[in-house]
Symmetry: C2
Subunit: 409 residues, 2 copies
């Protein structure tokens, strides 16, 4: 795409009403627009990143047998009464012209369980795993940290249904591995740890968080380097500040952002909605349920927090808005033609390519390329073209080398 | 995919609380689940159709230079006060824990205009065309007609910004053609007509609807067969029941569903938000705006209304949940192996294939295949396999022929 044709404008001044670094960079680089505290629009560049994150998450959820569905934002009051959660502070509520009251979906156990009930009768219908990538609404008292904690955000939420505790535990481990795959593919695998969240290995109820280390994180995680395992504050207090697997007392503390969580719902919701199945012996039972969340838009913010430098964002290739960013310097016909030739060549090979064709100074264009943060920057100017060369910059290490045009095309 | 692994269950009884045919068929075939009147969940089969409709719409909007963005559902009260629309009955409203009031986006002029304002300063920044595929909320008094008129639905809404009326009119015609492309690709081109909606050719304000003929339609359209043009009731009254292009008085009336609309917003919203640009002579002006909508989920319902028979849905190939539906009859090893071989062969060629591997009777499986409505049904049974043949049924005309397996693989 041409930079002149997408929503982008060099911003002279950093926004002053946002203190978090992810919001500053995403606003300055025109990935998002802030609408209200905790509510953002996703502009052309930002939506490209979101779509790529969604694709990776979708592929990994499909790989563990998740079926994608789409549940609504308007959810009926009765379902929340059935589970005793209508009073939750976090619910936005609205009333229809007919007088019916609705909650805006902050989470979807109240909707997915009745769906499962329509399709589950027998143990033969289990296991079942349903997920959606959908907009959540949460009535947060204080929206903060840019797009990390929002009042409206995109989330992947998956719910599984099982015949036995054993079957649930096997699936839980599969999903845990799928989550690790997601973070590896998103380029934050090395910074992300599995953390025991709720009582840990010695209690029945499984619960883990995926925590990405960054000083911008709201959470404090205790890390056992022997086990490569994190623990949150509640867990560690129960275990007298030692690793709840190996007993190691030499734990490091690190700040982190929660980028996903998985946990058992036991039979809380299957009981609430009287969701039962007939087991092999003909007895009626409630399926064990699991819940697995990833904040899609939050991930975008978390990645900006862990992957940037003083000049801007540094996107991992897998979710960069464009893999190549071509900077055409000056306005000679030669630069313009060669830029388009390289643009067409890379595009025809299936790469996402951005061409900065704007009538801006070299300094502005190079600064904007660093800010936007595509992984490969191709700089095309008259001087190098005279020798059939272009400058090739990798944004990750900011190293530049001269390459023959033939190497690129 | 395997039918045993997706949300599908043979429904013995038609739902009784829905009178519209699209809802009956979509509910019975497990494409959707009704949550509240006018609010549906999209199940595995339904979401596949929705995603394919979205892909076609997205490609055609990109082709006319539309930039995809994503605006929020929670929209600030102030923006609606600025345009005088906070009092609209159709708005769902909610209040945050901080006391802030929001409308749930029923349409997005109030959000897109301030976004455009951030990027438009000069005539050089025009034209600009922004669209989203996003969830809309409308506080309808009476939700009816299945998924045709909902309280929550997915919509593609595009907004364009222009320097001059002439530029707007040229773009408007391009989008009109893009819409025609969309309906052709969705398989309803032959049933869909462009209808003049608002004063017509002799007024300044352009406004057209795209109307798909079906007796289930809520709208009555007057059709001039000479011009291949429709007119709605308001327009035709102004023109004394004659074609407003050729004057033809022999107009036919037909019932239809509105599957899209395009219209001028003139400068109503650019004025309301003080969105201006500097023209070539240095004067400040408000851009002319256009608005272009397609109801994504409504389209799914409209297609069911126009494309079905007494046995079920007949999906056009471009948006069918699966292109091939393999019905494995009986449970012999030979049938099971050959079914999987054909399934793997077609899948590896990139087709979307559904294999009914359930332990159900031949009658149930064949009935369910007709109900689900995939365009090509491959029926595999022992008797035909003995001669290396399978039955190939095209759902559109319900014609069946024997084919050699080698023709399929």
């Amino acid at each position: 795409m041409l930079l002149s044709k997408i929503l982008y404008k060099t911003q002279k001044n950093l926004p002053t009403d946002e203190i978090s670094l992810n919001a500053k960079l995403l606003l300055q680089a025109c990935f998002v627009k802030k609408e209200i505290a905790g509510v953002f629009s996703y502009l052309s560049l930002g939506l490209r990143v979101i779509s790529k994150i969604e694709k990776i998450v979708r592929e990994e959820m499909n790989a563990v047998g998740g079926q994608e569905i789409l549940m609504p934002g308007l959810t009926p009051k009765q379902n929340w009464l059935d589970t005793g959660r209508w009073g939750m502070d976090v619910l936005f509520k609205t009333t229809g012209v007919t007088g019916s009251e609705y909650a805006l979906g902050a989470t979807h156990e109240e909707m997915v369980t009745p769906i499962a009930k329509q399709f589950i009768n027998s143990y033969k219908d289990l296991p079942l795993s349903l997920y959606q990538i959908q907009t959540k609404f949460r009535n947060e008292e204080r929206a903060k940290s840019g797009i990390l904690r929002c009042r409206e955000f995109k989330m992947k939420d998956m719910y599984s249904f099982h015949e036995t505790e054993e079957d649930f535990e096997i699936y839980y481990e599969q999903v845990k591995q799928a989550y690790i795959n997601v973070y590896n593919r998103l380029g934050i695998g090395d910074n992300t740890i599995v953390a025991v969240a709720d009582g840990g290995a010695f209690t029945k109820k499984l619960s883990h968080e995926f925590q990405t280390f960054t000083d911008a994180g709201e959470d404090l995680i205790y890390v056992c380097e022997k086990c490569n395992l994190g623990m949150n504050k509640e867990v560690i207090e129960k275990f007298d500040y030692s690793c709840n697997v190996c007993g190691n007392k030499d734990l490091k503390t690190r700040k982190a952002i929660e980028v996903g969580n998985i946990f058992s719902l036991e039979t809380k919701y299957s009981e609430a909605f009287d969701l039962t199945f007939q087991d092999k012996t003909g007895n009626k039972k409630n399926p064990i349920m699991g819940c697995y969340g990833i904040g899609i838009t939050r991930i975008m913010g978390a990645i900006v927090e862990v992957s940037h430098d003083e000049n801007g964002i540094i996107w991992p290739e897998s979710i960069a808005p464009f893999v190549y960013h071509i900077v055409a310097l000056g306005n000679s016909e030669n630069v313009s033609n060669k830029s388009k030739e390289i643009y067409n060549s890379l595009t025809s090979k299936g790469f996402d390519v951005l061409l900065d064709d704007r009538d801006e100074s070299a300094g502005t264009k190079l600064k904007d390329a660093d800010l936007i943060g595509c992984p490969n920057i191709i700089i095309i100017g008259d001087r190098n073209l005279a020798e059939n060369k272009i400058e090739f910059k990798t944004r990750k290490d900011n190293k530049t080398e001269l390459k023959d045009i033939s190497e690129i095309i």
